[in-house]
């Protein structure tokens, strides 16, 4: 089930919210757990078993870590838990990739490929495994107390707003909220607005851009214009799709009284890749920093080791997104750029000015180059796209004029980029609640009605980060 579906909007959300608010406060974690399990098992009931197993094992390991007095014993339970989590993730996510890559190698030297079973990737596994790992490490480091009871922990792991596409939450940020959180008109209203914004980002904007991006990336030899229009469309689509989902997740969280961390902060105005990773998928980059980069040594072991740590962290981050060499290359790309910026002393902290336009433009172009690898099915289809971007396939301007739904899609592309560049300015304007605010609110509500009507007529459109 996805948020932008009739099943969710027409059935799940209204019934869940009603059940949640009807239930007595002490039973609300139960309602969250049941609702989340129902949400997850709508995809496949059999994989709910895996989610429950991971929950049990991590809860058990965290209790053992907490009650063990000796450090060595605590560390063993931590290692056990982390290895268990990574093994589950490794098997379900990377088994097919590993076998395919091995077979490719074997075939190239004339050997016989291995014929093994195909492993299905459970949705959301990358997110809930990372959450489980962060929980164990936080309990070990004593940064967070263990969950007071199994129910709260299970509800945290399965919390449906963020279960299948983040933000990657940490228990220490939510533990207080599980035991005590406020429900108010303010919060619920804020949650509704946030949800509507995310819903419109996804259904109205991202889904309108998808045909352009899909068309461009389907070309075997895209022209210069095809390639650039396609990557501009995909860059915007990915942002609105993913940030839209995060907004919806945060919005639903607010409706339930939770305040999640923010996941995006106008990433495409970044003036460096370093800054980009403070603005894009913030929860993931923070996780990688705290649970991978820093344990590897961070920047504390000299320059060369810092660069290596950056590369390793980003390659792992790339692999987290998907089991494909394209994601490894994407990770190498970003890791390499981060290392280069570190070498050049780029900090990415300065405030924005007109002089920021040049580095911001360069950064955006570098990010777009990365997105080509991110989007391509494999590196052999990414290369012709890069060739198109530099004009090796010609500059034929007619290549763009037969695109599907051309006029409305291109209008939306223009609107999307206007929003991307103008919203950082708009968000700084502190408008007090006046008649203007009321009009703005009514506009959002009407846009929500339009977006829901679009749901009626479009086919199933999952979130792009659903596949991770």
């Amino acid at each position: 089930m996805v948020f932008s579906s009739l099943t969710f909007i027409a059935f799940f959300l209204p019934v869940f919210l009603a059940s949640y608010y009807i239930a007595a406060p002490r039973y609300r974690s139960v309602v969250i757990l049941i609702g989340s399990y129902l949400f997850y098992s709508w995809w496949r009931l059999d994989f709910l078993g895996l989610l429950i197993l991971v929950t049990f094992v991590n809860y058990w390991a965290s209790r053992k870590i907490h009650v063990s007095a000796e450090t060595i014993l605590r560390k063993r339970f931590l290692i056990f838990g982390v290895v268990f989590n990574l093994s589950v993730l490794g098997y379900y996510k990377y088994f097919n990739f590993g076998i395919d890559s091995f077979n490719h190698l074997i075939l190239s030297i004339g050997g016989q490929p291995l014929l093994l079973w195909n492993v299905i990737l459970p949705i959301g596994i990358s997110f809930y495994i990372f959450q489980a790992i962060s929980y164990l490490v936080d309990v070990y480091r004593k940064d967070a107390p263990p969950a007071a009871n199994f129910l709260d922990f299970a509800a945290f792991i399965a919390l449906f707003p963020q279960l299948i596409a983040g933000p990657v939450l940490r228990y220490k940020d939510l533990s207080d909220q599980f035991s005590q959180r406020t429900h108010s008109l303010d919060k619920f209203s804020e949650g509704v607005v946030r949800f509507i914004i995310g819903f419109c980002k996804k259904v109205v904007i991202a889904d309108s851009l998808a045909p352009i991006a899909d068309f461009a990336f389907a070309q075997t030899d895209p022209s210069f214009l095809d390639a650039w229009i396609g990557i501009f469309a995909y860059t915007a689509q990915l942002y609105f799709d993913f940030s839209g989902y995060s907004d919806m997740a945060i919005g639903i969280g607010l409706m339930l009284g939770f305040r999640f961390i923010e996941n995006f902060n106008h990433p495409y105005i970044s003036r460096s890749i370093t800054e980009f990773w403070r603005r894009w998928h913030i929860s993931l980059s923070a996780w990688l920093r705290d649970y991978l980069y820093i344990p590897l040594g961070g920047n504390r072991r000299g320059a060369i080791r810092t660069y290596i740590n950056l590369l390793l962290t980003m390659v792992f981050g790339g692999l987290w997104h998907g089991a494909n060499w394209t994601f490894v290359c994407w990770g190498l790309w970003h890791g390499g750029l981060l290392a280069l910026e570190r070498l050049m002393g780029v900090k990415g902290n300065a405030s924005w000015s007109l002089r920021s336009l040049v580095p911001a433009t360069v950064t955006l172009l570098l990010v777009m180059v990365g997105w080509v690898m991110f989007r391509a099915e494999n590196m052999s289809s990414a290369i012709p796209f890069f060739q198109g971007m530099v004009g090796f396939n010609g500059f034929d301007t007619t290549g763009m004029t037969y695109w599907p739904g051309a006029t409305s899609s291109f209008a939306m592309l223009f609107i999307a980029w206007a929003i991307i560049f103008l919203s950082p300015l708009v968000s700084r304007i502190n408008v007090r609640f006046t008649f203007f605010c009321l009009v703005r609110r009514i506009s959002w509500l009407l846009l929500f009605v339009i977006a829901i009507s679009k749901l009626f007529v479009q086919s199933y459109s999952p979130f792009l980060y659903f596949q991770f």
Binding site: I9, P14, W42, L185, V192, T220, Y402, S453
Partner: protein, 382 residues
């Protein structure tokens, strides 16, 4: 004002969700289908087959869906001159199939594979003394480019027809170029319908005539027994253009109308008296000497291509074209039927191929087809 905004937000949101819940509940009786009985078990539930069917069904059957769909369809068409994926909207009501625009550059690998298929089939037919005549149908985009508006074919795609034709001729495949006859149709007689992918009866007739003239030019005679067939036309009827389905105007079709086209279906019948040389006598039974194969351009009887061929070629043409399969699969099936003896060996096969399929990957699996004997692949009239 702050409180008003919040109450309005929460109230409106709640009412809207409640309304959609009511619509969803009203849709529930339409959801379940008897053929899902197989999925009503642990396997169906565990693997999510039942839930995915439910979601898809809900999407199809949601109450008010048709009304909303027609509203969006009308707005998109009226404001942006776009339809659903599959159609390209030109000027003055002209609609084009998105398939005809293809890629920026043609798929060369698919092109070469398809050419090889044609040569292979020609060789097999030649070894059975069957002449193959290919009618290469130009895309509507190519024939009526002036109505495309700002849409255009890429330069490489524009060259496709000529490249295909030349490749066929270079390998001695009898290929009929109908571009000129389409362009030279009389004013008021269009080769293509506005709201349909396919040719009009005029376009089909012009192609049939062009084929006949080409054969006569090459072979001096039509190499099969001939009879006289009379052509007449049925009553005028409305055309439901296949491209119009991609513009779901629904309840608003009278406000923003699409072109209402009409056509009459040709009817061919055999004359009682036949004075053609080599005409069949009453007791002759040689099966169909000419077989037509291809796509919906031939399979759909309304366009009349088979009837026109029967009339101009003077022989009862057996129509083995199929709609929705592309040109290669029906040809593969025809050849298999001939080799298996399921149909009598004809004298000639007319193969209608729309040009856009030449650069599309096909699902045809023709590895089992083998020519009974090797023959030189020359243009054969017999």
């Amino acid at each position: 004002m702050d409180s008003i905004t919040k109450y309005l937000t929460v109230g409106f949101f709640s009412l809207l969700l409640f309304f959609v819940l009511v619509l969803g509940t009203a849709t529930v009786p339409r959801l379940f289908q008897s053929e899902w009985a197989d999925e009503l078990n642990w396997n169906g539930l565990a693997k999510g087959k039942l839930t995915s069917k439910l979601e898809a069904r809900l999407q199809e059957q949601m109450v008010f869906k048709e009304g909303i769909r027609s509203l969006w369809g009308t707005l998109n068409y009226w404001l942006f001159k776009t339809g659903q994926s599959g159609v390209v909207v030109g000027q003055e009501g002209w609609l084009y199939s998105q398939e005809e625009f293809g890629m920026y550059k043609p798929n060369l690998s698919a092109f070469n594979d398809n050419l090889e298929r044609i040569f292979k089939y020609r060789d097999i037919l030649s070894s059975l003394d069957i002449s193959l005549y290919v009618v290469l149908i130009p895309s509507k985009v190519r024939v009526v480019p002036e109505k495309l508006g700002y849409h255009q074919l890429s330069t490489d795609m524009l060259a496709t027809y000529e490249v295909v034709k030349q490749a066929l001729i270079d390998k001695s495949v009898f290929a009929v170029d109908v571009r000129d006859v389409f362009q030279n149709l009389e004013t008021g007689r269009a080769p293509y319908f506005k709201t349909d992918t396919h040719w009009t009866q005029e376009g089909a007739y012009a192609s049939a005539l062009a084929l006949r003239n080409s054969i006569l030019e090459t072979c001096r005679t039509l190499p099969w027994s001939r009879a006289k067939f009379e052509l007449s036309h049925g009553p005028q009827m409305a055309l439901n253009g296949d491209l119009a389905k991609f513009i779901p105007l629904g309840y608003f079709k009278d406000i923003v109308p699409l072109e209402k086209e009409r056509m009459s279906v040709p009817i061919v019948s055999k004359s009682e008296a036949s004075t053609e040389k080599g005409a069949m006598s009453l007791f002759d039974d040689q099966g169909n000497e000419v077989v037509l194969v291809g796509t919906s351009y031939s399979a759909i009887e309304d366009w009349g291509f088979a009837a026109f061929l029967t009339h101009v070629l003077g022989t009862d043409v057996l129509n083995m074209a199929e709609a929705g399969q592309g040109p290669f699969l029906p040809a593969q099936k025809l050849i298999a039927s001939i080799l298996d003896g399921q149909i009598a060996v004809p004298k000639a096969v007319i193969w209608e191929i729309p040009e856009r399929y030449m650069v599309m990957e096909q699902e045809s699996d023709d590895l089992d087809l083998v020519a009974p004997k090797q023959l030189a692949g020359e243009i054969s009239c017999f």
